[in-house]
Symmetry: C2
DNA sequence: GCGCGCTTTGCAAGCGATTGCAAGGTCAAT
DNA sequence: ATTGACCTTGCAATCGCTTGCAAAGCGCGC
């Protein structure tokens, strides 16, 4: 039934050798105008297209990029996935997705399977990679770039925003806004993103002579963030500002503050997020946040990966600077115009 | 550099033939306990794993499923993508994603590339497929199943909810709630989902002796929906209820009604959506909606696809029934308890 | 000890392309 | 007309595996 058309059939119909057909479809292959025309005609008549898998076997390039991702609930990632995939598609690569849990143990078998598929490169989105795995990939000559997650390993490329600087921005903005009791609902401290944002925030506060009145790790989980907000803000001397580890959780926190605790934002409490997901701009939330420039992150990721695949460049750790996106969820410092 | 381990190397180290190694890794391959043990040992020492691509070449099965998707902004699709991918992963298939625009012309080249990758099957999520393409896929023996989109073509499988019935539910609920001026901001009328929901809604109203006071196609676009809401509800005799073609747009409509027009939901206007995306349940929105059971849709999709790949079953058009999920965005009919 | 059936094994032919190599062609310069 | 440089072309090996086929091995009843 499945009438596969092969280069051989095209060759016969065109009256040329099979290699000629192959050459016609290989960029830079040496074919005369005449043969090219014959092959083109025959190929079109037969509806022939080269078999990527066969090509992959002999050339050793599959034009497949493995993308490991933990979850799509946080609105930042669907966006990243779409942009990454589209950017790669434009460069004639395709993305093979693999879902993992957010633990190194669960990533291990997933990456194994990735390698089975002979991917040309791997992007991990918000997922950490064990040393053992890094070795395997390095040994197999497959470049890895971590998207929105860092790791202290020179063999791994990574693209992140400057989370420490971002945390500092948050501190400056909240202190500048005249807040006295500043709290922090942190991103997962098991990830560099979470840790660095927290670190920058703490440092920033300290530099301005402030200290957090409360802090809790919500592990990038919506429900956990809500739970923490509930207890953190129910006491009498509740915080008057909170920096949340990412937007996804910040929105949850806003919901709790307004709908469960009846607080008003930003009059009673200022809320600051991190990421700038599309929802942050919706009228209901108008979340002030540290913006991660997804487009630039994606471009950097794709460039780094393809450079490493096509040339043999060294791994790069890229740091992109974020910026403060001011909306209405946090009191604005006097004279703050940026 | 890239030290690929092949079955031949394993064979040598184990002191058996290369076929024996292959058989060991083929489920159902005939190998004695003794050889199995030798192969296992050698394979582990060398870190050998079969090359999926090479296997695909000879067996004709790549264990890759192509997923064509138009956009991830509507929160229904990230969810679907994740569930589909996880379900397939569990059955030892992987998903190769392809982004397309929502027009048949743009889908064409995308599916071409899919075929180049020798995928075993194709899932299209909310994307239509041209006849020409259907033919190519049928000719190549590659089953296609459309997720959340129907099409009148017996060669295509599809999984949708009963959108007509859903539209009727919406009509019943709004009429039952005592609304007099009922409007409709429709899903894209170029898609079966949009048309069917509208159709069911119109029929449902008519059966109850009602008629829409306004209707407009918002093409599943957030901004367009907002724009339409703005004009539709700014007149003096504005509607007192609106059924929106999906949740993604409904949330936008709610934002406009409340924040721009200062209307109160559901006191001034009742809003009804379709899908039941996670956001619909967030306290800010509490959107009453027609629920599409994603889990069941995904299971049905995966089952249909794999049945067709593995057996040689006929295409199936599966209709799953949705249900009304009552929250707070629409006035509830008296005595309505369900 | 021989023959029969069943399982296990190895050989070798593909799967559909790419690519190095050498042969054949073309064309300009001599 | 002859030569050499250069472009085209075809041959055949190769990528890493699966699988049909026939030979080998094994256990068992006679």
């Amino acid at each position: 039934m499945s009438e596969k058309v092969t280069s051989l059939q095209v060759a016969e119909r065109a009256g040329v050798s099979q290699s000629a057909v192959s050459r016609y479809f290989t960029p830079g292959g040496s074919v005369s105008k005449a043969t090219a025309a014959k092959v083109k005609k025959a190929a079109e008549e037969l509806g022939y297209r080269p078999n990527v898998l066969a090509r992959a076997m002999v050339s050793g390039r599959s034009r497949i990029i493995g993308l490991v991702i933990a979850d799509l609930k946080n609105q930042f990632y669907p966006m990243a996935l779409e942009l990454l995939s589209r950017a790669l598609q434009e460069r004639d690569y395709q993305v093979l997705v693999f879902f993992a849990e957010n633990s190194t143990e669960s990533v291990e078998p997933v990456v194994q399977r990735l390698l089975d598929y002979q991917v040309d490169g791997i992007i991990t989105a918000s997922v950490a990679v064990s040393n053992h795995l890094t070795e395997r990939c390095t040994a197999a000559g497959i470049p890895v770039v971590m998207f929105n997650r860092g790791q202290d390993d020179a063999r791994l490329s990574s693209v992140t925003t400057d989370n420490v600087a971002g945390g500092r921005m948050a501190a400056n903005f909240l202190v500048g806004g005249g807040h006295a009791r500043i709290a922090h609902i942190a991103g997962w401290q098991g990830a560099t993103t979470g840790r660095d944002r927290t670190l920058g925030f703490v440092e920033g506060l300290r530099d301005l002579g402030h200290e957090m009145v409360a802090m809790e790790d919500a592990m990038y989980d919506r429900d956990r963030a809500a739970e923490i907000a509930r207890t953190m803000f129910s006491g009498a001397d509740r915080p008057d500002a909170v920096f949340v580890g990412n937007d996804y959780m910040a929105l949850s926190v806003m919901d709790v503050l307004r709908f469960e605790l009846g607080l008003s934002i930003p009059d009673d409490v200022s809320v600051l997020g991190y990421d700038d997901v599309p929802l942050a701009d919706w009228p209901t939330y108008q979340l002030t946040t540290i913006r991660q420039p997804v487009n630039r992150m994606v471009t950097a990721t794709v460039d780094t990966l393809l450079d490493r695949i096509e040339g043999d460049i060294e791994p790069r750790q890229i740091l992109i600077s974020g910026s403060l996106k001011i909306r209405a969820s946090a009191r604005r410092p006097k004279g703050f115009t940026a």
